[in-house]
């Protein structure tokens, strides 16, 4: 889609050059033709843009942006920030990511947005706290990131100033540099060609865009993920609630769930025994997984079903 857009611009410039010299009969004909072509090209771009926006909207759901960047009150405006993330390291006030120039991200360039998602660095060069899950988002591909940005920028800007975080004394931007040295490496997702496509799609969604491990992987005291126990759950999750093991362990994990069980749960929150979750996962289902295509939910299931057994701690 980006390529089409680029071509359009180049052709537009070329056409303008061609149009400049004459206004004779032939020139007029030519300009008429050119005008027509231009019109067609614009329609082409508009279609490409609306496709990108549609994809961006889908990816915004799949990335879980809404559940975190929206305040908890019922009349909260989506993505305008205000949600409080209460963690052992303090309270993070999740910021406004609508395109408001003053209080949102309206002044951000594409590079700013990519830098935030892939490197965890703000437009003014500061490290983001890893409460913003860039350690997962770093694996997302650039096309997806730009589609998300395009979608966010198509929304109504909302003026809503961000509140400062209330963090423990030892948590600073500097300590984040240290954290990043230990636990962060910027790298895009590389598909594993020995695995089926569905598994790879699931891996992309679980590990990166959907950032499931941010909650489901236990963390050490420094807030670093224990990768040897990926997705094995945590008795005391980052927001205080216990987070279940979603590996294949039959006793403490979801080893007895079928692919359909997983899909049903991600679709509307039903556990295999007919109970319905009311946990923090409920918001994830409402604002993320229930909006996915059944194919993407099945891909997540395929990935989870292929995980090694890990006992919860």
């Amino acid at each position: 889609m980006k390529i089409i857009a680029k071509n359009t611009i180049t052709r537009f410039i070329l056409l303008r050059k061609k149009l400049k010299p004459t206004m004779s009969g032939r020139g007029f004909q030519r300009s008429l033709l050119a005008g027509l072509m231009l019109g067609l090209l614009f329609i082409g771009t508009a279609a490409a843009d609306s496709q990108q926006l549609e994809r961006g909207e889908y990816l915004t759901y799949a990335g879980g942006c809404i559940s975190c960047h929206t305040a908890d009150n019922d009349d909260a405006i989506p993505l305008a920030g205000g949600h409080k993330l209460e963690t052992p390291f303090g309270i993070f006030h999740v910021p406004n990511i609508t395109p408001d120039k003053e209080t949102g991200i309206g002044n951000w360039s594409d590079d700013d947005f990519i830098n935030a998602m892939h490197e965890g660095i703000s437009p003014d060069g500061k490290n983001y706290f890893p409460a913003f899950p860039y350690a997962s988002y770093t694996g997302t591909n650039e096309d997806d990131v730009l589609a998300i940005k395009a979608y966010l920028f198509s929304l109504e800007p909302v003026y809503q100033p961000n509140e400062p975080h209330e963090l423990a004394w030892y948590v600073s931007r500097l300590s984040v540099s240290f954290w990043k040295m230990l636990y962060f490496s910027a790298a895009r997702f590389e598909p594993d060609t020995t695995r089926p496509e569905q598994w790879n799609r699931g891996a992309y969604l679980v590990r990166h865009l959907g950032h499931c491990g941010e909650c489901h992987t236990p963390r050490n005291r420094l807030g670093g993920p224990d990768k040897s126990r990926a997705l094995a759950g945590s008795a005391k999750g980052i927001e205080g609630e216990s987070v279940p093991n979603i590996t294949q362990d039959k006793e403490t994990g979801i080893g007895r769930w079928s692919a359909d069980d997983i899909e049903t749960f991600l679709d509307f929150g039903m556990l295999p025994d007919g109970d319905f979750t009311g946990s923090d996962m409920s918001a994830v289902i409402d604002d993320n997984t229930s909006h996915l295509t059944p194919e993407d939910r099945q891909a997540i299931a395929a990935y989870l079903l292929a995980l090694p057994h890990k006992q919860a701690d």
Binding site: P244, D260, D275
Partner: protein, 157 residues
């Protein structure tokens, strides 16, 4: 002797009074205990019907003739919901959150939503329209989930 007698009477009287209090105490808590036990069992019954319903509705179990009975049971059980949470049946031994009694209007609205969505599921099942049934099922599920979010303490299964 009369002094001792009256002392005895007083002791006996206060003793039985005390016992009475204690009995009342235990009787109350036994009742609450049973309320919680029943509520828990009835909720389990509901989830049992939900899980059974879905297994049949998605053709994993070939027993279409049983589908209606599960929907009907859900309607019946959802009608009991307002009676399952009497004042004073909260506390440590239950996952029912204090919000149930602190916000009776909100809770009652959630119960009504469950009853309405269960009735809609019953009707859709009776009409035999598959996609409408699945839609109604998802709606009923949402009302379960919505109520659990606000009024149930989450716990491991």
């Amino acid at each position: 002797m009369p002094i001792l007698k009256s002392f005895n009477v007083v002791t006996a009287l206060s003793g039985s009074l005390l016992a009475g209090f204690l009995m009342a105490g235990t009787a109350m808590s036994a009742e609450t205990e049973d309320t919680i036990k029943y509520r828990h069992a009835a909720m389990e019954a509901m989830s049992g019907h939900v899980a059974s319903f879905l297994l049949i509705a998605t053709n994993k179990i070939e027993a279409p003739e049983f589908l209606q009975s599960h929907a009907d049971a859900l309607v019946d059980l959802s009608r009991q919901l307002n009676l399952m949470f009497p004042e004073g049946s909260g506390g440590e031994d239950t996952h029912a959150l204090p919000a149930i009694w602190e916000d009776p209007e909100g809770f009652s609205a959630a119960v009504i939503k469950m009853q309405e969505t269960a009735s809609a599921l019953q009707l859709a099942t009776r009409a035999g329209n598959k996609s409408a049934t699945m839609k109604a099922f998802a709606e009923a599920g949402k009302s379960c989930k919505g109520c659990h979010e606000d009024y149930r303490e989450e716990h491991d299964h």
